[in-house]
Symmetry: C2
Subunit: 418 residues, 2 copies
Amino acid sequence: MTTIEIIKAARAAWPSLKDAESPVKDKALACMADALISRSGEILSANQADLEAARGSISDVMLDRLALTEKRIRSMADGIRDVIALPDPCGVCLDSHTRPDGLQIEKISSPIGVVAIIYESRPNVTSDAAALAIKSGNACVLRCGKEAFRSANAITDALKAGLEAAGLSGALVGLVQDTTRQSARDLMTATGLVDLLIPRGGAGLIKACTENAQVPCIETGTGICHIYVHARANVDMALNIIDNAKTSRPSVCNAAEVCLVDREIAAEFLPRLQDRLVRQRAAAGLVPVELRLDREAASLISGTAAGPADFDTEFLDYILAVKTVGGLDEAISHIAAHSTGHSDAIISEDVKACDRFVKAVDSAAVYVNASTRFTDGGEFGLGCEIGISTQKLHARGPMGLRELTTYKYVVHGNGQVR
Amino acid sequence: MTTIEIIKAARAAWPSLKDAESPVKDKALACMADALISRSGEILSANQADLEAARGSISDVMLDRLALTEKRIRSMADGIRDVIALPDPCGVCLDSHTRPDGLQIEKISSPIGVVAIIYESRPNVTSDAAALAIKSGNACVLRCGKEAFRSANAITDALKAGLEAAGLSGALVGLVQDTTRQSARDLMTATGLVDLLIPRGGAGLIKACTENAQVPCIETGTGICHIYVHARANVDMALNIIDNAKTSRPSVCNAAEVCLVDREIAAEFLPRLQDRLVRQRAAAGLVPVELRLDREAASLISGTAAGPADFDTEFLDYILAVKTVGGLDEAISHIAAHSTGHSDAIISEDVKACDRFVKAVDSAAVYVNASTRFTDGGEFGLGCEIGISTQKLHARGPMGLRELTTYKYVVHGNGQVR
């Protein structure tokens, strides 16, 4: 089937799901989880073929992301079962209002329709995204990176079999069969057929979607996250937080990329930062962090000289750009100019400074004395996550089930006219 | 100033407004209202010049929309004062959550940023839109139709003077000085500068925005609204509702354009519909409604033969397309295929049929036994309206102050790491 045929099939199937009661959707999810397990042989063979084809052309880290095992498939099935336990986001009365003439106006949460998701090579995204879509009453059309295509097909076949075992249409979960750029364009321009497009991937994909999408689209992911060490910071706390935000998982979007240090404490703080991130890590056999220093920081500690691009780069690596600032105002304006609006933090014991930072910084998540790594649907209590929005419309920050719904007004009268 | 310079000036001024306390914003609104009154002489002269330039090239209805009087300016000022009385939509804690480790996560409503609004020739939209933007903490950039350009400039000058009298920057309300299509394109492509674009106007403008906007955009307005007269309808009620929905204000988006009649009652209902909308109106000296009838309806009453386009046209006039349907399912599928997702109604005494209709019809507002004309921010209790969204992302149906906000997560810790 062509991409458009797959979208149309999902759209045609949607009415059978959109008003389904929670038990119907939950039964479908249970069958989808079971089918992943019962078809794990097929899924592993397909994954093996993907791995063989990719070996040599992608990095070991990418190969590891792509690889499936019995255990990883069980964890995908468990992920689907976790979604069953979450509350149904549809049919919730968000607001109600009775007019003086007796007209009853209710605002009811409801599914969006056909959600398209463009992602890369992690096979588990296929089942995670499909489970969240089904639970929220949406049909979904998935487009994975070409490295994961065989695996994603085997997983999608299992999910379709699960849907059909539960009496629903397999077309509710579609996988695009064309892995060229054309299929991404087809999704971006399917006006009237795709109700929401969620690109998950690198800056290039996000930019292509921003520029070319004619369907409603939510930008996700790019995170140039800042940690500002204020003059009244608890230095031990600052070191712990920066270490965690930079090194606990450098490849993710909520990892810190930039440290802003107040000039007042730079001479005390920077040598300790270097000790913690470079010397201690090297001594422990860990990858040391490369510090990219502005001129002032470079006069206090050794490291790489930062170029201007270093303050606008999502390194996703053991690299931290370090800049000295003259105070809160300069930190706020640097963040306004360079942040991607994902997650930014202040470390300070000064309540007034923290309050000003929180108000002034216009990012999806603004932190006081905590690691930016907490920006995550699970950590924020959403129970799951389909992506992290870095734009301001519809959803901001981690997107869970609620962010996969819209609402409609339902108005009951007995003959009212205006 | 060029369009981009006006947008950049609004963006640069925004930080001074975004976290302003409610009394600051309300004082600015009061000064804006006062300035409209004190500058009404200048505004009326500018309007006179607009009217003279437009006479002959636009219809009398359009000329009337464009015309200002002392009374209309007072009503614009009162409109701004009404906004003062509405609750501040910013800084509201929408959700909060404390993690087991003590991390406090709050979801706080906050302004969006720079909101651009493209509209046509009603001068009052200039002050209405600016007032809603300021109350919700947003800077705004307005682009009016060329017929209203002098009036809009005089109004904007007054609003800027009001902002400055209250100690805020006049740049928070900008009016684009270029009325060619280029300025609309500039707004659509101002990525990173415009946070939300709201086009208010005809289908052509909306389509141009859908296809070309690279900034987040909300489609508004087009309303092909249906009223389905079910076999178990109270016929008197149906006639009242259709009369109201069609004739009380045919030029607005929530007016009905299509009547679907159940075959079971068509022979009883249609002659009464014709009597009510055609004969009685003509007898009362009112414009009779032109009925555009499908073949089956045409076999029961006289009228114009409907062409296929008549079921996909927003007439905005005294014209009603009439189609006979075989029952609830056919009504639902006709609406799914032809509705613009604005407002659709069922008239029926059968509770089960009404419930099925409400669930199945995927429109911003779904009515049972009431007129579609109620789809309006004021009638829905929002207190105001910046437009009516016919898409599903961010806002659906009437958009008030709350729909002009986003949210951010504010996270307070004492050293938590992940």
